[in-house]
């Protein structure tokens, strides 16, 4: 997280661009410092890097107009949804115009009989699920933050439910994307599967705004399960909690969520969410299905947990108990940050093949013994994915640099296990060297070729994901 040229040193916006955007957008184009700074930060530990202006788009056409104007003036373009990126995706380190799509918040269609919905990119996952409530369907991808669907698609997000339902990779059926030439490209259909041509949908899912601006997203929905139950189980040792998860996955028990939290993470949750969980390594589980299936899954997991010395297997079957548990889990990041006033969390995000989870997680713990700041572990361990939250003082350069060195060691460990540097947060500004190391020179060359083909002027979220210069 080295210092990056602040946008203040960028040349000012071309007058022609300001005029064009003002004419079209009126008050929906702003160069006010407060608005720009608000769009120059995210949930990462980076300092503010503000864009030179912000356009509030209300339609796909608005995005086309703003994008074409920026391209005509060779000015960078950054898409902005809910601002919940963890990796600096949204930061305008080369200046330019941010296109805020948060007002594109209409649910365009819910096809309940097909279990699909099409939404504008600024619709958030909570908004979608609220509007789905009376249909008996839900959208499962849940990254914790109330992210926008456009942002979730752009970062290939996942979260607690991915162990059962997959990530955005599996659940986006189609997109509307504006490419650098201003074309409105529709990808995919509403059919559940297709072999028709290149998989443009999945080329854009995870492309972090570097290949086009997503304006509409069509997603898969699922029937609300007949029965849901949750359970909490704590363990003396991290290794026993992890062994429980590994065996659960290897036996094919279709758990809907399986989350690990370190003892000090539980302590922070208790303080933040007024829960009274035992402050030990803990697993949260959720089971979904028919009544019989939920009971069967829960019995299987309880048996596995007790084999590994699980303590206090506690049930949360009432909706309000479950909500309290999962709200606490969702607030883990905030609880962690609150535990050290003034700190920011730098989050690792490695994901490894399930058999290597114990080594990966315990290895991270050992690496963090050297940390000059507190850290907590939390994660979607059923996928092999967890986060070490490194609670650094952002003003203390020594801490920030130490965090980067520790992050790097944790990433290297995951890569040595045929894992990935990022299970769900993406690359952004922060993990560029890790992606290069993970993907290898040939794959990065191929990514560059794609980027150059689709964005020859390098104006779409430039400088994110990989360096374009060889």
């Amino acid at each position: 997280m080295t210092a990056t040229t602040p946008s203040a040193s960028q040349p000012p916006l071309p007058e022609g661009l300001v005029a064009a955007l003002t004419t079209h957008f009126g008050g929906r184009f702003s160069q006010a410092l407060a608005i720009r700074e608000q769009h120059g930060r995210d949930e990462s530990a980076y300092p503010i890097m503000a864009p030179d202006g912000v356009v509030f788009a209300e339609s796909t056409d608005d995005v086309v107009v703003a994008l074409k104007a920026c391209v005509a003036h060779r000015v960078p373009i950054i898409a902005f949804g809910a601002g919940s990126s963890m990796e600096g995706h949204l930061l305008a380190h080369r200046g330019g115009i941010t296109i805020d799509v948060s007002r594109m918040n209409r649910i365009l269609a819910v096809q309940a009989d097909d279990m699909t919905a099409t939404v504008q990119a600024g619709v958030t996952r909570r908004q979608l699920n609220t509007e789905l409530r009376q249909t008996g369907l839900f959208f499962p991808i849940d990254p914790g933050a109330d992210a926008s669907l456009g942002g979730m698609a752009a970062t290939r997000a996942s979260g607690t439910n991915a162990v059962r339902y997959g990530s955005m990779r599996e659940n986006v059926l189609g997109l509307t994307v504006i490419t650098a030439d201003g074309a409105v490209v529709k990808t995919g259909t509403r059919a559940r599967k297709s072999s028709a041509g290149y998989d443009l949908t999945r080329l854009f899912v995870g492309s972090e705004g570097t290949l086009g601006i997503i304006t509409e997203v069509t997603v898969r929905l699922y029937p609300e399960p007949e029965a849901v139950s949750a359970a909490v189980c704590c363990f003396e040792h991290v290794s026993d909690a992890v062994a429980t998860v590994i065996q659960t996955i290897q036996m094919g028990v279709p758990v809907a969520r399986s989350e690990f939290l370190s003892g000090n993470m539980i302590r922070a949750l208790n303080a933040h969410s007024k829960t009274s969980l035992r402050e030990m390594p803990t697993l949260f589980f959720e089971f979904q299905g028919s009544e019989a299936s939920v009971r069967e899954q829960a019995d299987q997991v309880q048996a596995i947990a007790s084999e590994f010395g699980g303590l206090d297997f506690e049930w949360a079957t009432l909706p309000e108990e479950r909500s309290r548990l999962w709200n606490a889990r969702h607030n883990a990041l905030f609880a962690a940050v609150q535990s050290r006033p003034g700190c920011r969390a730098i989050s690792t995000d490695t994901c490894v093949p399930i058999s290597r989870l114990a080594e990966s997680l315990e290895g991270a713990q050992r690496i963090l013994e050297d940390a000059p700041f507190p850290s907590m572990l939390v994660g979607h361990v059923g996928d092999g994915n967890f986060h070490a939250l490194l609670l650094v003082d952002p003003e203390n350069l020594a801490e920030v640099e130490a965090a980067e060195r520790l992050n790097e060691r944790i990433v290297r460990l995951a890569l040595s296990m045929d894992g990935t540097c990022t299970g769900e947060h993406g690359i952004g500004l922060h993990k560029i060297p890790y992606l290069a190391e993970e993907a290898g020179e040939e794959a990065i060359t191929l990514m560059r070729t794609i980027k150059r083909g689709l964005d020859p002027l390098n104006l779409l979220n430039p400088g994110k994901m990989f360096s374009l210069a060889e």
Copy 2:
């Protein structure tokens, strides 16, 4: 399926290329007519279009050598696995060299604890499942034919199990691909999910050999279910069978397979596979899971079927009964072809959102009432995907042309329902105009940009999927 220039009219292979391939491959490079013709046909109704030579690759390095030699001499390159394409993917309509990877049939690694396997591209799905038998794991994707994993990845194949396990899109974790510049690109990791960079894996899955040659495939495996049962149920009317499937899917019953077969399809199966099924519209189901879950699923489906007048709900719980049923289903294409001696099957492959399945299937039936040849319906209806098998006399141009017109009407109907022209067979030579209609000009332009970026000389399976000239 208009006549295409036969490869005989192509200029002969450059002498330098013949010399280079002979030097490196010796007897593993052949220009013998029989070998060339064997590689110039597939399961489509196209006439033979033979390549000018065939290389039998035994390693990734072999593929690199052959590809680089062809590129140096500007000669087209076609990858060939099991030869089971339905859409002319493998045909050398512009001549060139076919790289046969069927000898690349080593299973490189089975990581049972991670439920992943890495295989060479020529490994077939049956071979993989045979070798997995003692691990308690299986690879679910089952397109009927004993296709190669490389070919299945290249066409984004699926099949009977996709309703439960997804298609190759969801089940390929990583690939080794040789790109047009001869680079050996490794995509993906063995982690279950990742947000690291562009999704190169899914760019190549379904790219039909036009962006690179796949030499290795890493796939997800699944635990063999504790219990499996199958059921057969017939109906007076197609509409009732379809309504049963739609409701099963909408209720979220996690069936492992749900296949529809028309009455005359059953008649052909009975003749071919010595079964004695009632010759009526029929559904085949398979249920997988724990004992309790299988029983519950089966009860749910039986209740739905009886609501729609299902007759003779019959169980096949013994492994040999199930095998007989699914073998019969797998042989449907051959049974259909056998029912009209000398015919070839042109197969439609539309897939629609589940609520439109009845309209789509009954619409196809009505369209086929005009056909001057027999036709049968069979399909993976739980996905909204089915095949009309049009049994044409390939020597009778009027029949072939009529089949194309009917296919087009069936495709248009699916596209009008936000469906796709191909659920699983791919585009190949056959569906180029349908892809253009489905994807739209902007998406095709984008596909062309990608193709030009990755294969600037247009040598990788040229002329397949879309026409490169605008």
